[in-house]
Symmetry: C2
Subunit: 347 residues, 2 copies
């Protein structure tokens, strides 16, 4: 049985979205046990209102406090020891759960993971990795905001962690890894990219295929898109913003008159299905990789379905045993980078 | 009469798109004179095939060579002295034209402008500024790719040049200027942003309103969005890619069956009008600011309408006399930054 902790008080639609998501996941997989973190009374009341809920695979960790998105993340984590986020993360630390999911404050979830859980041996920084929808399917973009002012070695570790995630959790064989740059030519890039290039090219047993221009990202030109947190965060937010503006423009145009409303009736079933592929909530949350245990951040507006998908994603992650093999990979990578840099230095 | 040079051989649709664009602009404005750069024979032949073309406001600079997008920009500029790009830029340098427009190799146009034309006094770097469509109208994003590895002072100059451009060329009164960051809180940002912050806040007589998250860009949350060329280029290309993937998904869905085709007929007139607002070609090209003279880069796939709009944009720029007032602004800005940094240093 894989134990997964869930922040019942996280997100705009809490607590119902979280409780419903947990129940949905319990239905879909018989191998998970949910650890619900939040006010015990409230959780019991909500569960009691549902019919046919068995408590066999549910336990509750009572947490009276809630960290809001307005609070300073680090100080909130330090002060609110009885919050659902801190208690959930501590459950992972104390081996009472293998993973923790929250749709609450991104900053607090990131800071809590980084402060409270140790890193897997040899991991230098823990990137936030986001599954983004593309024309072809999905890609993993990392780092999306956990570590600004990155070092070249971190980027190489992100490439490795991203590749393992897409292969073992998302089931993509030999995932294509690319590095964000201004152009595809060798001489393109800022000083940082030029220092990453010889290192990432040295990684053994990874399907690294060079640079990607951001224009190609929505087309699904890579399975794993690796970049620093500054660039990743700016791109992720722009991607979300652009999609939402375009879709809302289309919707309001369709509803703007009688003729277009009739047209909308005719096209909506198919169009909805197509646009749904661009809806990130279909694919669960954003994992913070490289920690001892797994932390997944869902969108603030996550509904039950996204929470459920994030729970199933955690199950796959734990089953794949990624953290168990990661150190060995990173050791080999570091050796290969060292050798390449010696050659590079002599060249 | 404002003389504007045009690269007849630039872009995927050359030479027709360029010649048609020039003729369209001559029709729309009686105050411009076009200087067409390219093979004289070809240009004469193309103009001869049109009816009613008067040569009164057209001159030709014969250029036998063409720089392709596959060539290394700097070496192409140095070697191909008889190319339409080099000859057009030299026309600006020699005061035979006030501005030069090309839909050809971005790299060559940028490098040519930076190598051949001097900078306006006190300008440290010349940013590439792109007009991007938003839900509200248009914004100016700069730097979009001219100067990687920026210094904080450059960003402040970009803010000033962008603000002047939006006010004097695009007619937006007191344009709102914002700086791209990961979040809106004061403590957010990487080391670079933290060094820009006190400087940009010190600029006098500018409507600087703090940070912008990239998510807000498509909503039109600022008139001038200032960032370093690395981030600007990654965001611009992602913006273009996302828009084009979403719009192509919608179009192919609409054409995918009989019922949806009927629906499409009903909604298309209105939808096309709405989506057109997100079509960058409506707004002309991307100016390279801060040069002695003006260089404007159009999209490689620019059609006559975009070329025409870029020409009219150049006319407004020259009429507004931006380059004549820029040095004075930059001098005041530098003083204000110096004073602020003294205070900042003592704090």
């Amino acid at each position: 049985m894989i134990k997964i902790a869930l922040d019942v008080m996280g997100g705009d639609n809490c607590p119902d979205s979280n409780i419903d998501g947990a129940l949905l996941a319990l239905e879909k997989s018989s191998d998970i046990h949910m650890v619900l973190c939040g006010p015990e009374e409230l959780i019991k009341e909500k569960l009691g209102a549902k019919s046919k809920v068995s408590m066999d695979r549910i336990s509750i960790i009572d947490a009276s406090e809630v960290i809001t998105t307005n609070e300073h993340p680090v100080s909130a984590i330090q002060k609110k020891k009885d919050s659902s986020i801190v208690k959930g993360i501590m459950a992972v630390k104390n081996n009472e759960a293998s993973a923790f999911i929250s749709a609450g404050s991104s900053g607090a979830v990131l800071a809590g993971g980084q402060l409270k859980l140790g890193r897997v041996k040899l991991v230098q920084r823990t990137p936030l990795a986001t599954i983004i929808p593309t024309k072809k399917g999905v890609s993993l973009l990392l780092d999306c905001g956990a570590n600004v002012d990155a070092r070249p070695e971190w980027i190489c570790q992100f490439a490795r962690m991203g590749s393992l995630y897409m292969e073992k959790v998302m089931g993509i064989k030999n995932p294509v890894v690319k590095l964000v740059n201004l152009g595809l030519e060798d001489e393109k890039g800022n000083a940082f990219i030029k220092s990453v290039k010889p290192m990432i090219e040295a990684l053994p047993n990874i399907n690294y295929q060079g640079y990607i221009e951001s224009r190609e990202i929505p087309y699904g030109a890579a399975d794993v898109i690796v970049t620093d947190a500054w660039t990743g965060n700016a791109m992720l937010k722009l991607y979300e913003g652009t999609g939402s503006v375009l879709i809302s423009t289309i919707k309001s145009t369709l509803m703007s008159g009688f003729i277009t409303k009739i047209g909308a009736l005719l096209i909506m079933p198919k169009l909805k299905k197509e646009l749904k592929r661009f809806d990130a909530s279909e694919y669960g949350g954003a994992p913070l990789l490289g920690l001892k245990g797994l932390i997944v951040k869902c969108h603030g507006n996550a509904k039950a379905k996204e929470i459920c998908n994030a729970i199933l994603q955690c199950e796959s992650f734990v089953n794949a045993g990624i953290n168990e093999v990661l150190t060995e990979y990173l050791e080999e990578d570091a050796k290969a980078i060292d050798e390449a840099m010696k050659l590079f230095g002599n060249a």
